[in-house]
Structures are given as structure tokens and as C-alpha cells.
């Protein structure tokens, strides 16, 4: 059985779906951020696979930059969480709805 590009794309989509599920379901902000990492990783699998099957390096480049972006997002996200936690002693997003309407 030959593994083709579509197999990888389906895998990427399934992982993306898991990430979406996590993003919508998680109330703990830290664990919500885990889910966003899954989103980006699933895309990277897709890029690497396309890059392989087309014998083109651009996909690997994109994946490379996605990793860099994910790393920067972690830094900023954790920074925000730390400030929030210092004030509220909680990182539950249900406690974060002062503004509405």
C-alpha cells in the first residue's frame, strides 16, 4: 500500500481538528495554549509532506518559520498569563469576562 500525499493531508486535518477541539473546550488558558501548538504542528506535517512529494524545499521553509512563530507566541502568551496570574491567582478563562455586550 502506497502512502501518498493525501494520507498526510488527512492526518494533518485530523490533528487540526483535535487542536480545534482543544481550543474550544479548554478553560485552563495554559492548556488552551497547548491546543494552539497542536494546530501549528499539524500544519507543519502537511508542509513537510508536500515538500517531500513535490521535491520542493519551500514547504520545509514554511514549516521552519511556523516553528519560529510558535516559539515567539509561547513567550508572549506565557508573559501575559504570568501577569494575569499574579493578579488573579487563576488562569481560568471563565473568570475573565468583565467586558461583555
Amino acid at each position: 500500500m502506497e502512502i501518498g500525499l493525501n494520507h498526510y493531508l488527512v492526518l494533518a486535518t485530523i490533528l487540526f481538528g483535535i487542536g480545534l477541539y482543544g481550543v474550544m473546550r479548554r478553560k485552563n488558558l495554559l492548556m488552551l495554549f497547548f491546543a494552539t501548538e497542536i494546530l501549528l504542528n499539524s500544519v507543519n506535517i502537511g508542509f513537510a509532506a508536500i515538500s517531500h512529494y513535490y521535491a520542493d524545499l519551500t514547504g520545509q521553509m514554511f514549516a521552519f518559520f511556523v516553528i519560529a512563530i510558535a516559539a515567539s507566541e509561547v513567550a508572549v502568551g506565557l508573559g501575559l498569563l504570568i501577569v494575569w496570574y499574579k493578579r488573579h491567582n487563576s488562569i481560568d478563562l471563565d473568570e475573565m469576562s468583565v467586558m461583555r455586550g
Partner: protein, 502 residues
């Protein structure tokens, strides 16, 4: 073995990079200055920022004259793309930034302005936006977008109040989701075309006659979702009101202008070849987005009790209005969008600055939001000048002639009519009429109600300083005398847009 790479320096067109490098250098300089001597007054950093932005402006003027002579320029292995759209949008970004940064010179001290990092991040953010508009490489767009967004989240949080953290976290989380959408969409397009450059994608897709229409539509769905988030189109808009409320008025005003124009340019580059290739569904989807965004945001704005939230919803509605131009996609419509945004910049600069001058450090007991309508009740009695100027901006937002936004609306609607979108033009006109109602509501509060609470009288204008007065003056002059500038502006923008083939 790999061939050694030989690149001649001329073929790189290093000049295309100059406008972005200037703010980066500026930001680094600010950080270095802070290293050597801390506790310098913020006015120095403001002046440094303006200086670098002005240099940036001059560099842009240089590249615009180069564009006039040679047409679109590619640089650095064809990653940089300096066409008319890039130049006009960068002008808007830089000028808007120059006008907004002096708002830091308030008479009261706020947390963010006490730190030089604020100004460094501000300049980095501008560079990020500039990269975003001056390329058609999806990778560079992504990196530029993230540079700008990460700075923006931090700038919002640095205001250092409960609400600003809430706003920053919300914006950040939703932004991370949108980044996921964007990368997935790019992946799909890469899978179909083997390229991550918009013009390549377009060429390949047109060459094979959109044979993978399913893939294209799915990719379009993801990319649209991510830009709909940036442009705050319904239902991806939910961050906007909260983030506007949570950040300082100056920042909120800035957010209503600059990130959106950058996103509009990318949307224009990306969606127009799809529309022009005759994908009816793309057009239909955008049509629905435009109409729903304009109308729903208007209805929500009607029921707001806080002026800043009202303005947030109003700018969502304005974004929907401008998005119509992207959907129509003719040269006239694209010109109209840029013109609209220039005029919108002045009006929104004014209206948010007016909120900014009445900013309190702490809310008074019993006060629920920073800029409630009650705060402005009977403003005409305590300071008729402020009330008149605020009313002026509201009238401009409502599109009452001859103030600035009237011309933008008029030109955009006429672009819709000439392209045969009569129903859309009608909906746009109808929405302007609804919008008039909530802008009028503020005017009614200011001119026709009695002051609700005498404490508010001292608050309004408490944040005023000479530089803020100057900015508001510039905004007011821009709003009133727009009618003189509209025609030359239109000629210039139209030339840029037409010559870059949009």
C-alpha cells in the same frame, strides 16, 4: 554538490528594504539609549519615534518616485514587492503612526509610556506591518503579521489595568487560532500549486483552470477566516469591542486604522485574482460577509452604553463597508478603499483622541466603564469647544457632507453603482442611515442633556496637553477641509493603484 550561489548586489534592489529597516533601527536605538541612561523623559522617545517615522516617510517618498519611473519593483530574490498598493498603504501606516504616537504626551502619566520598550515595540510593529504589505510571499506576510501582532498584544497589556490584560489575553488567544487558520490555508494553496507566492499561485491556478476547485475553496475558507479575524468581520469580530474597551483610547484608535489597512492590502492581493477568475462563490461569500458585517455591527452599536464600545462596533461596520471594495475589485473600488481609509484615519484619530483626553486614571465610584455616554452628557455646558469638535467627528463618521468620510462613502458607493452592484449600494446607503442614529445619540447627549454627574466635568479634558491639542486640531482640520484634498488625493491614489494593476 551544490553550485555556489552568485548574486550581484544590484539585482537585490536593497532599496526596497529601506523603509522597513528604518523603524527597526529606530527601535534598536531606543533600546540602546535606555541601556545607557534610564529614566529619560518619555518626550525624548516620542520625538525619536517621530524622527524615525519621518525618515521612513522620506524613504517611502523615494520609493514612490522610483515607482513612478520604473513601475513595480521586486527586490531581494523577489520576496519584496514594491508596487502602488504597498506604497500607498505604507504611507497610510506611517502617517497614521506619526499622528498617533504624540498621543503619548498626555499631562497624566500612564504605565506604558513610562517604559522605552513601549516605543521600541511600537516601531517594531510598524516594521511588521510594512513587511506585510510589501510582499506577496505568504511566509513573509505571516512573519510580518506575527511580528506586528505580538508587539500589539504587548502594547495593549502594557496599559496595565485589569481590562487591558483581559483584552490582551483574549486578543492573543484568538490571534493564535487565526494564525492556525492562516497556516492551514497556506498549506492547502501550497498543496495545490506548489508555491507560496500569491502571483505564482494565481498563475498556476489560472493555467490549470481551477481544476482543484474543492481545494481552492477550502484554502480560501481558511485564509478568509484568518483575515476576517484581523479585519473584524462578523462572526470573527468578537474580539474587537472587548479589546477596544480594554486598551487605552489612543491604542484603540490606532488599532482601528493601521492593522486593518495592512490586512486589507493582503486581502486585496489574495482575493481579487480569485474573484477576477470568475469564482462566483468567492464573490457570493464575500458579499454575505460584507452585508452581515455592516448591518449587524450597526445594530449592536445602537445598543451600546459606552462610547468606546460604540466606536468599536462602528469601526467594525466601517471595515465591512470598506471590505465591499475588495469584493467589487475594480480599480475604482480599490482606489475608493484607500481614499476611504485615509479619510477614516483623520476622523477616527480625532474621535479617539477626544476620548483619550477625557481618560481618567481610576474610575470614579459607581462608574462602570471609562467612556459611558453619561460622561459626555451636557458637555456643551462645561466645554462647548470640546463638544463641538466631538460632534464634528461624529458627523463625519455618519457621513454628513461636507465632512471627510462623506466623500469616502460617496466614492465607494458610486464605485459599487458603476460596477453594477446596485443592491449593495442601496444596502450601504441604508446602513449609513442607521449609523447616523447612534452617532447622533452621542451628539444628543452632549448638546441636549443636562450633566448627569458634576464629577465628570473635571474629568473631561483632564488629560489634555499641548501636543494632544495639536493632534486634535490636525484631525479636525483634516476632517473639515477634506473636500479640498479629496480630488488630488484621489488622483494620486488612483495613479498608484492603476499602475500596479489592481
Amino acid at each position: 554538490m551544490l553550485e555556489p550561489v552568485n548574486v550581484s548586489l544590484e539585482s537585490l534592489n536593497l532599496m526596497t528594504l529601506a523603509p522597513m529597516l528604518i523603524p527597526i533601527v529606530g527601535a534598536l536605538l531606543i533600546l540602546v539609549v535606555d541601556l545607557f541612561k534610564s529614566n529619560i523623559d518619555k518626550s525624548l522617545y516620542v520625538m525619536l519615534s517621530i524622527l524615525f517615522l519621518f525618515t521612513d516617510f522620506m524613504a517611502l517618498a523615494g520609493s514612490s518616485s522610483a515607482f513612478m519611473q520604473n513601475g513595480t519593483l521586486l527586490g531581494l530574490f523577489d520576496v519584496m514587492l514594491v508596487d502602488g498598493l504597498a506604497i500607498v498603504s505604507q504611507f497610510i501606516i506611517v502617517v497614521a503612526s506619526m499622528l498617533f504616537i504624540p498621543l503619548a504626551l498626555t499631562s497624566k502619566r500612564f504605565h506604558e509610556f513610562s517604559y522605552p520598550e513601549f516605543f521600541a515595540l511600537f516601531l517594531f510593529m510598524i516594521a511588521g506591518f510594512q513587511f506585510m504589505v510589501a510582499t506577496d510571499n505568504l511566509i513573509l506576510i505571516f512573519v510580518g503579521l506575527e511580528t506586528a501582532s505580538l508587539s500589539l498584544y504587548t502594547l495593549i497589556a502594557m496599559h496595565n489595568r485589569e481590562k487591558s490584560f483581559e483584552a490582551a489575553v483574549k486578543y492573543f488567544t484568538m490571534g493564535a487560532l487565526a494564525a492556525g487558520f492562516y497556516s492551514f490555508g497556506s498549506m492547502i494553496f501550497y498543496a495545490v500549486t506548489g508555491s507560496v507566492e500569491i502571483n505564482q499561485i494565481a498563475t498556476v491556478l489560472v493555467a490549470n483552470g481551477f481544476s482543484d476547485i474543492g481545494f481552492v475553496m477550502v484554502g480560501f475558507a481558511f485564509i478568509l477566516a484568518s483575515f476576517a479575524f484581523k479585519l473584524s468581520l462578523v462572526p470573527f469580530h468578537t474580539w474587537a469591542p472587548d479589546v477596544y474597551e480594554g486598551s487605552s483610547a489612543a491604542m484603540a484608535g490606532y488599532m482601528s486604522i493601521v492593522p486593518k489597512i495592512a490586512a486589507f492590502i493582503v486581502a486585496m492581493r489574495f482575493f481579487e485574482f480569485l474573484i477576477h477568475s470568475g469564482l462566483v462563490w468567492v464573490e457570493a461569500i464575500l458579499y454575505v460577509f460584507v452585508v452581515v458585517t455592516m448591518t449587524a455591527a450597526n445594530l449592536w452599536a445602537l445598543v451600546q452604553t459606552d462610547v468606546k464600545r460604540m466606536l468599536a462596533y462602528s469601526s467594525i461596520s466601517h471595515a465591512g463597508f470598506a471590505m465591499a471594495a475588495v469584493m467589487i475589485g475594480t480599480t475604482q473600488a480599490n482606489t475608493a478603499l484607500l481614499l476611504y481609509w485615509v479619510l477614516f484615519t483623520f476622523t477616527n484619530l480625532g474621535s479617539f483622541s477626544m476620548l483619550w483626553i477625557s481618560r481618567q486614571k481610576k474610575m470614579l465610584p459607581g462608574q462602570n466603564s471609562d467612556h459611558s455616554y453619561e460622561k459626555f452628557a451636557g458637555l456643551v455646558q462645561s466645554s462647548p469647544m470640546a463638544a463641538t469638535i466631538m460632534a464634528l467627528f461624529m458627523l463625519s463618521l455618519a457621513g454628513v457632507p461636507p465632512f471627510a468620510l462623506f466623500w469616502g462613502k460617496m466614492y465607494l458607493i458610486s464605485a459599487a453603482v458603476t460596477s453594477g452592484y446596485t443592491v449593495l449600494a442601496l444596502i450601504m446607503a441604508l446602513n449609513s442611515a442607521i449609523a447616523g442614529y447612534y452617532y447622533l445619540k452621542l451628539i444628543v447627549y452632549m448638546f441636549m442633556k443636562d450633566p448627569v454627574d458634576s464629577r465628570y466635568e473635571k474629568v473631561i479634558g483632564s488629560n489634555l496637553s499641548l501636543s494632544l491639542k495639536t493632534i486634535i486640531g490636525i484631525a479636525a482640520v483634516g476632517t473639515i477641509f477634506a473636500f479640498i484634498a479629496v480630488d488630488p488625493l484621489l488622483q494620486a491614489i488612483g495613479g498608484f493603484v492603476y499602475n500596479s494593476g489592481y
